[in-house]
Amino acid sequence: MTAFLALIGRDLRLFRRQGGAISTALGFYLIIIATLPLGLGPDLNLLSRIAPGVLWVALLLSSLLSADRMFHDDYEDGSLEVIALGPLPLELVAFGKAIAHWLSVGIPLVLLAPLLALMLNMDGRAYGPLMLTLLAGTPALSFLAGIGAALTLGLRKGGLLLPLLILPLYVPILIFGVSAVDAVVTGPGNFSGAFSILCALSLASLVLAPLGTAAALRLNLP
């Protein structure tokens, strides 16, 4: 447990101190949402209708931006070797790293979302469901990103490969996240059904993704 907390604590400190990952993600999110109305024209009805979907898609892409850094630095500077020889199984290492990524990138993105929703004139009723779905869905984004980050570790030009690998896994989360919000605003359908599936997906990725991540890390250790 000490080792697990030490790892998470170290990662949070590194994210905070280096800052690059967080500000890139937040900045990218802001830029997408800020430029979108300029491209679509000042149609408030259109914007408010598409707001939940756009906020979700932009958040997915923003969190992907920092995904490749989850293991990359540790791999480059040899920390991964130290971590691999520690008392934690690699599965728990993968779990801890994903938690740290979620806390330092996922949560700030979720907190920024309602502000950006204002810029899109989102329906007032949608704020609650949007925040709930984002909170439930973002852990899955970090955990799934871990698999891609670990798989593309040794590749010098892994930049595009990572999104290609990971985005298909993000699709169900996106679909159920957006449809839960839409159920509240435009109907038909019900919120709790889609939201339950979203939670299930998120919980499943919490358990299963670290297994894949650890297997991919082992491939990159030799």
Binding site: A3, R10, S79, E81, I83, A84, L85, L88, P222
Partner: protein
């Protein structure tokens, strides 16, 4: 955790491959607690591969590595320190934070952190970010890991790289103490480390890909 004096590293018929190339095969050796093993050989002979294979980074193609008398429930990797070409320190963390991470993560203690900082003359640098250190200081920080958490087996790959004379002496002292307490050291090196080596494996013979040997 005190090292069991009866510890023994046993390598049995070990073979390793990288891609389709056999790096070494049929390697047998055993090293008892209190003994150092020096691995020598030309570049590319497989010294690093050998160490990484013992640590468990590279799965052995054939054969086994065991630590007799060690903790049965842990793999050899979890009972060893591996100091490789990469230092494994975080440039954005201070020297002290790096040491504390080693101690907490590898299950050492607070005292060992202070001890390690003092031993490797890092105490004055404690609040400096590791990224600003010189190559030799970074190496010292990396080596401090050996003291931060106690582990019976040390795998050192060119440990003395970029260390000055004084630091090399410190390292030699650490190794001597580790051996005296019953630990095992396996070091790959080109330079004379000035340790009382009891055994040497020469990988230059193995470069011919014939059967292994050692004395």
């Amino acid at each position: 955790m005190i090292t069991d004096p009866a510890i023994q590293l046993i390598v049995n018929n070990l073979a390793a491959m990288r891609g389709t190339r056999i790096i070494f095969e049929g390697l047998n050796l055993d090293a008892e607690g209190g003994h150092a093993l020096t691995v020598i050989g030309p570049n590319g002979a497989g010294k690093t591969t050998f160490l990484r294979c013992i640590a468990g980074f590279l799965p052995a193609t054939e054969g086994t590595v065991r630590l007799e008398g060690g903790d049965e429930e842990r793999s050899v990797g979890e009972q060893c320190h591996y100091i490789g070409h990469l230092n494994g320190i975080k440039p954005a963390l201070t020297v002290l934070e790096n040491l504390e991470f080693f101690a907490n993560f590898l299950q050492g203690s607070r005292e060992t952190t202070a001890q390690a900082a003092e031993r490797l003359a890092l105490a004055e640098l404690a609040d400096i970010q590791a990224g600003y250190l010189s190559a030799g200081q970074k190496r010292r920080l990396s080596i401090a890991r050996l003291i931060c958490a106690r582990r019976p087996l040390w795998l050192l790959d060119e440990p003395a790289v970029s260390l000055d004379k004084a630091s090399q002496t410190i390292l030699a002292g650490m190794v001597a103490e580790h051996l005296a307490s019953g630990g095992i050291v396996v070091a790959a090196t080109h330079t004379q480390l000035g340790w009382s080596e009891s055994k040497t494996i020469d990988f230059s013979d193995l470069a011919g890909r014939e059967g292994a040997e050692l004395q």
